[in-house]
Each structure stands twice: as C-alpha cells, then as structure tokens.
Amino acid sequence: MSNDSTDRATPPQGREDEGLVRRLKAGDERAFEELVAAYRERVYRVAWRVVRDDEIAEDVAQEAFIRVFRHVGRFQERSSLYTWIYRITVNIALNRLRRDRFRHMVPMGELQWEDRRADADPSYAAMSSELAGRVDSAVRSLPDKQRAVFTLRFFEGLSHKEIAEVVGCSEGTSKANYFHAVRKLRKLLGDLR
C-alpha cells in the first residue's frame, strides 16, 4: 500500500504561511528551514508523481526549494504559498521531463525506472506487485500535463481552481485534463477487480 496519507489534501494555509513568507522575505534562514520541513514531503511527492523516478524527483525537489529561497522576494502573495511552491515544483518537473526526453529521445514510459528502483531498494522489489506495476505503467502513459493535473487533483486534493493556478491553465482545462486522465486509466485498467 502507498503510505502517503499523512498530509495529503491538508496544505497549511493562512496566517502561519503569511508569517513564514514575511520572515523568508526578511532573509530569515530559520524560516527557510521551517519551510523545507513543512513542505519537503509534499514537494518531493508531487515531483515523484510527475517524473516517477526517485533520483530525478529529489533533484526536482531540491531545485524547487532553491528557487523558492531565491525568488521569495518576487512572491506577491496573490496566491497562497503552497500553490506557488507547487507551481514551481510542477514547472521544474515538466521541464525536466521535456529535457530528458529530448536528450534520450525515448518516451518517458520507457525510461528504466523499475529496474533502477528495484536495484536500489530490494524491499521495493519484494513489495511491488503485478497490480502496482500495471498502475505505474498506466499512470506513466498519461501525457505529462494530464499526469500533473491528475496528481494534484487525486493525490494532493487540490481544487481545479488551485490546479489552474499551479499549472497555468483555465479551470475548465484542468477539469478536462483530469477527466481524460481518469478515462484513460479506466481504459487501461478497466479489468481491475
């Protein structure tokens, strides 16, 4: 079973974040440590679900925090802090996929993710079931943007309005992407019982 239910769909909001942003803008390094502690799991999880690779996800998450640290002065607080951080993360992850695909010229679905992961973590190979493998392949086969929208909606519990902010599209586009993602998964995994 996936064990990611700890803080799904409960992004911190409100005053707590406002105070954090104020301190970050003032250059308070302690505030940055708090931010990393509060968001590292979510940032890594979203990155992983978009790129579906441990190493790349870690790299994306690191890059996202570095950008947050460097550009927090530009954050205008028109959106909430967590949608801004998600936005940075998703952008980096999608760019990374595009870059890697261009470099390797192979579809993302064919990158050697399963073997590397199983090699690095033998317990994963033991836990991995045929079902998880099928789900993984099906999720990988979604177009990048659909996968990002699906991740944010289904796993992170964001509303379509928030997803639209994160991905930079309209609410309608987010709904359509999510609908098509689920339909495609249904087509690929329709025989699951």
């Binding site: 079973m1 996936s2 064990n3 990611d4 700890t6 440590e33 990393v36 590292r40 799991e41 890594y44 999880r45 992983w48 679900r49 579906r52 870690e58 998450a61 690191q62 925090f65 570095i66 640290f69 460097r70 973590d121 994963y124 836990m127 991995s128 079902l131 998880a132 493998g133 789900v135 993984d136 099906a138 999720v139 909606r153 289904f154 796993f155 519990g157 709904k175 999510y178 609908f179 689920v182 339909r183 998964l185 249904r186 995994l189 329709g190 699951l192 019982r193």
Partner: protein, 199 residues
Amino acid sequence: MRRECARVQEMLVEFASGGLDASERSMIEEHCAACAACAEERAALERLLEAVRDDGYRQPSPFHWTRFEAKLRRRLESGRRRGESRTWPALIPRLAPAAVALFCFAVGLWLGLRPVTGGVEQGAPPRAVAYGPVGVPSVISPESKLLVDSGRGAHPAYAADTLRPSALAPFGDPPGMVLAASQRLAIVGSGPGQRSLGR
C-alpha cells in the same frame, strides 16, 4: 443511454474523486440507486481509483530527509559562494586576463581589417583607376576591366566579377578608383570615405 445517464456519467469522475457539491452528489446518489448501468459505472470508477491510489510511491525514510536537507544546504551555500564571487571586486582578478586578451584581439582585428590605401590620401592623385568598357574612368561594374597599381608596378587586373555591384553602390558616380595591396582591394570613391573589400 438516457440523457440523464449521460450527464451523470460525465460527473461520475468528479464524484468518485470526492468532488462536486452536496446537491450534485445527492442527485448522483439518487440516480445510481435507480439506474443499474450508472451504478455499475460508479462502482467501476471507485474500484479503479482505489487501485490507483497505490501507484508505487513510497514515503522516504527519515534518513532520506536528513540527507536531503544536508544536500540542499550545500547547494544553497555553493550557490551563495558563486553569487559572491560574481560581484565586481571579486571578478576583477579573473576578468583581467580576459580583458587583456580581448584588447589584443581587437587591436589585431583592427590592424588586419583596416583599409590599405597605400598612402593615398583624400585629394592625392590616384595610383590606380578602374576603366570601364569605353576605356575611361567610370562606375565599376562586373564588366569593368580593372587596372591596378599597388605602387610596385602594374598588377594583373583582378576579375571584375569578384566585386559585387551592390558593394560599390556607396561610392556613387564615376570615377570609381581601385587600389590594391596584397589580397585586399581598397576603393576610393567620390563618396565620403574609403572602404575595403575582400577579393
């Protein structure tokens, strides 16, 4: 499929994902209670999404986060050092050799490309003249025969077709005058200045 079923099935994806407002959810509940096809579709979607929830993601261990934060600190620190080393006072020692090299390159380029006029000055008698088809100084055209004197006797004429007529346009009306030295042609025209053209 009835029209209502079509509408419900469009909404089922959001329904199964926990979306929609209370009235929409209860409408779907009621519809599915009375419609076997929609109820089956709803159950299938719910099964699917339940299965997809385990998509292979594993929560990293606490050790992973310790490593992650240490790595992040290192990256930020090295970024900061790089940032500091990009300030002007820090850059001067590094940029000095590049500046010297650039200066030498610019001087070399200027020496190499400056027009070679063989000492001809504005108003001085020309030492070479382009003769047109009628044998008098005229506008240089691809048909012009060029007699060239570089100061060390008469050169063989250069092929006129190596000169692009458009390149000669700035020099205006006749006479167009051509001087040569080495591999370069220097043209002194009736226009405001001089210009060199590669062969």
